[in-house]
């Protein structure tokens, strides 16, 4: 017998079950997974956009708001200026057609390299309860753009700020058949408190997360 059979057999023997899984048990488990019932969760007495902003700020993200997507490059330019950051950035394909040049930003549409300083991404959706961005990996949405650069700028659609992680999963289920290779939930800049429990931003991921909410959708 190999390790797999040994482990499964030990579990069944210890629980005083027959040596082989019976079909009924397997059906019950599959039915439960297929039904994926909701569990209790905290009440949401807030407006999702307001809550998202508050929570994101608590996590040390910064938040800006624009009416329409066209206004995003200028808003990002103001942010980069105020922070004295590089005006060279990499971005996802979705934003390739924006007028970055008019905003004075040199943009490269590609996956991120080690030396990139600013990465501009969208999100799949955002979670109001915790001020979290939900990113799905894919050919047009390379993960490294939100990871390698020191500054991550995320452009998000106000109408895709959902209440909690439950709604975020439901959105993936309804819009995608399966989970993509990587789902990353990002909540603020990377941090560590390993040395003397002193919170320090920018451990291995970005030092800064700046969120631009587009009110009228992307």
């Amino acid at each position: 017998m190999n390790a797999r059979e040994n482990i499964l057999a030990r579990i069944r023997a210890r629980q005083a079950k027959s040596a082989l899984t019976d079909a009924g048990e397997r059906e019950a488990v599959r039915a439960h997974i297929a039904a994926h019932p909701q569990n209790p969760r905290p009440a949401a007495t807030w407006d999702p956009v307001v809550r998202f902003r508050e929570e994101a700020l608590k996590l040390a993200s910064t938040v800006d708001e624009v009416e329409a997507l066209d206004a995003a490059p200028a808003a990002i330019s103001r942010y980069l200026d105020a922070q004295r950051l590089s005006r060279e950035a990499v971005c996802w394909e979705a934003f390739a057609t924006l007028d970055w040049r008019a905003a004075g930003i040199v943009i490269a549409v590609r996956a991120a390299h080690e030396s990139d300083l600013v990465g501009v991404t969208g999100t799949f959706c955002a979670i109001a309860e915790t001020g979290t961005l939900m990113m799905l990996s894919g050919p047009q949405t390379p993960s490294a753009v939100s990871l390698l650069p020191e500054t991550h700028i995320a452009i998000i659609d106000a109408s895709r700020i959902v209440r909690g992680m439950e709604e975020a999963w439901e959105l993936v289920r309804s819009e995608r058949r399966v989970l993509p290779r990587a789902v990353n939930f990002i909540s603020g800049p990377s941090r560590t408190a390993d040395i003397e429990q002193t919170v320090t931003l920018g451990a291995h991921g970005p030092y800064r997360v700046h969120i631009v909410i587009v009110k009228n959708g992307l």
């Binding site: 190999n2 797999r4 482990i7 499964l8 579990i11 069944r12 210890r14 629980q15 005083a16 899984t21 048990e25 019950a28 488990v29 439960h32 997974i33 994926h36 019932p37 569990n39 209790p40 969760r41 905290p42 996590l59 590609r110 996956a111 915790t130 001020g131 990996s137 894919g138 050919p139 390379p142 993960s143 490294a144 990871l147 992680m165 439950e166 999963w169 399966v178 989970l179 290779r181 990587a182 789902v183 990353n184 939930f185 990002i186 909540s187 603020g188 800049p189 990377s190 941090r191 560590t192 408190a193 390993d194 040395i195 003397e196 429990q197 320090t200 920018g202 451990a203 291995h204 991921g205």
Partner: protein
């Protein structure tokens, strides 16, 4: 990892007089304990969420074999390769074989307590593979060649000065004392390794049966690096870490960060499923999941099974008066505090960790704060009973319990003995009514006095006043 739990008492004594450690433990208590309390207060139906979490974990454990098979089926369908390991030797062998198969020269790791159980780094190094811990705390420990002392804050026992010295010596750079600068130095050191490593090794906070995914929670972002950049990703997890559905993930994520560090959410939650798609720019080409037993099945179906609900948040140790006094190293293995006092004897053998189930005041702080409602003091009591039944305690102790047991079953003799005892202790109290030392119980009076009793027993008083 080598077991040193038999040295609990002597190690604890050393730790009690270590000023740096005591300062660090005080701070830990402040930050993590206060943070958890705040997060719990923010949830209007916290107890309902906690009940649900505990029920989710029980649901899995009661059908663990079926859930494991479901996980395996869904993970395999997405291109992951699932391996099963009964012992830590199996884990180390599988990882070394994978490294050979994929031509791996360098591996980067994110924090994983399971690989500490296995001492995987030693095995990889022996096989000629360079391995780097990338969690800042674990990286410091790897440089210092020390084991972690807390499951969430592994380097809590070290001061900034010690880290400064260590980096100066090992990196050969000018000494830095600012924590942000030290962090940047580690970041810059490790960046290149993330890019050049062939294999990323992670644990898994959970494995999701519905999707065949593994999930890791990190704050630093090293977990994302390890699962995104190298061409091979190996996730190693205990067989008990399955969650049925994505809804269950949402529930557990309300409890794990809040009980671990007092955060409302950790910075990164990474759910990885299968391998890189054809036109994708990043992600591993090979994804391996190792399901590790390592003693876990020995708890299934026993009175200790509730321990397998554990989500490794660390709240029990943060709230434990014993952990707060002696720190994690005294416990002598991977898992310290109340959860370690149950897991260590269960995984490495009761006879190697005799003191651990007794290293508790039975105050039940741990049971009160555990997000999945593990009755830790009850489980420690059960281990004490097993110690007694298996005759693992010294004969003097067993004889004393035997004598007490014999007397307690004979009310007249018990009453007489109690009456003598009460009078004797009252006499010993002297004028200040304090006992400064008791024969055979010197430990109790070494650092405090015992208030002397009145000289009569409760039953005598009751009879007199009726």
């Amino acid at each position: 990892m080598q077991v040193a739990s038999m040295h609990f008492k002597s190690r604890a004594r050393e730790k009690l007089v270590n000023r740096n450690l005591q300062n660090a433990l005080n701070k830990l208590q402040g930050n993590f304990v206060r943070g958890r309390a705040q997060r719990v207060a923010e949830m209007d139906n916290f107890e309902a969420i906690r009940d649900a979490a505990s029920a989710i974990r029980d649901r899995v454990l009661d059908r663990l074999d079926v859930y494991l098979e479901e996980f395996e089926r869904n993970a395999t369908a997405r291109g992951a390769e699932v391996h099963w390991a009964e012992t830590h030797e199996d884990v180390n062998r599988i990882v070394c074989e994978l490294a050979r198969r994929h031509g791996v020269r360098k591996a980067v790791k994110s924090k994983s307590m399971v690989t500490e159980e296995c001492a995987l780094n030693d095995a990889l190094e022996a096989a000629g593979i360079e391995v780097l811990e990338t969690d800042l705390g674990e990286y410091i420990l790897q440089l210092a060649k020390e084991p972690p002392s807390h499951i969430v804050a592994p380097v809590v026992h070290k001061t900034r000065d010690e880290v400064s010295d260590l980096f100066e010596e090992k990196h050969g750079t000018p000494r830095k004392t600012d924590i942000a600068e030290l962090t940047r130095e580690a970041r810059e050191r490790l960046r290149g390794h993330f890019i050049s490593a062939d294999m990323g090794i992670s644990g898994a906070n959970f494995a999701i049966a519905e999707t065949g995914s593994t999930l890791i929670v990190t704050n630093e972002g090293n977990g994302r690096m390890v699962t995104t950049l190298p061409r091979v990703h190996v996730a190693i997890t205990g067989i008990e870490k399955i969650l049925p559905t994505l809804e269950d993930v949402a529930t557990l994520m309300r409890l794990l960060p809040s009980h671990g560090t007092g955060q409302s959410i950790s910075n990164y939650i990474s759910v990885t499923t299968g391998v890189k798609g054809e036109r994708e720019h990043d992600g591993p080409e090979h994804f391996h999941v190792i399901l590790f037993d390592g003693g876990r099945t020995s708890l299934v179906g026993t009175e200790l099974q509730p321990m397998l609900r554990c989500i490794r948040c660390g709240a029990c140790m943060n709230h434990c008066p014993v952990y707060q006094s002696v720190g994690g190293h005294a416990y002598g293995w991977v898992y310290p505090g109340p959860m370690g006092s149950v897991l260590t004897p269960a995984y490495v053998g009761l006879e190697k960790a005799l003191d651990l189930p007794n290293a508790a005041t039975m105050c039940n702080q741990c049971g009160v704060v555990c997000p999945v409602k593990i009755p830790l003091p009850d489980l420690m009591r059960k281990l004490r009973e097993q110690q007694f039944a298996r005759k693992l305690k010294p004969w003097t102790e067993r004889a004393a319990f035997g004598a007490w047991c014999w007397t307690a079953q004979r009310p007249a003799i018990y009453a007489a003995a109690a009456a003598i005892g009460a009078r004797l202790l009252a006499l010993m109290g002297g004028r200040d009514r304090l006992i400064h030392s008791i024969p055979l119980a010197g430990g109790w009076t070494a650092s405090r006095d015992m208030p002397a009793p009145q000289g009569v027993t409760f039953r005598e008083l009751y009879r007199r006043q009726r």
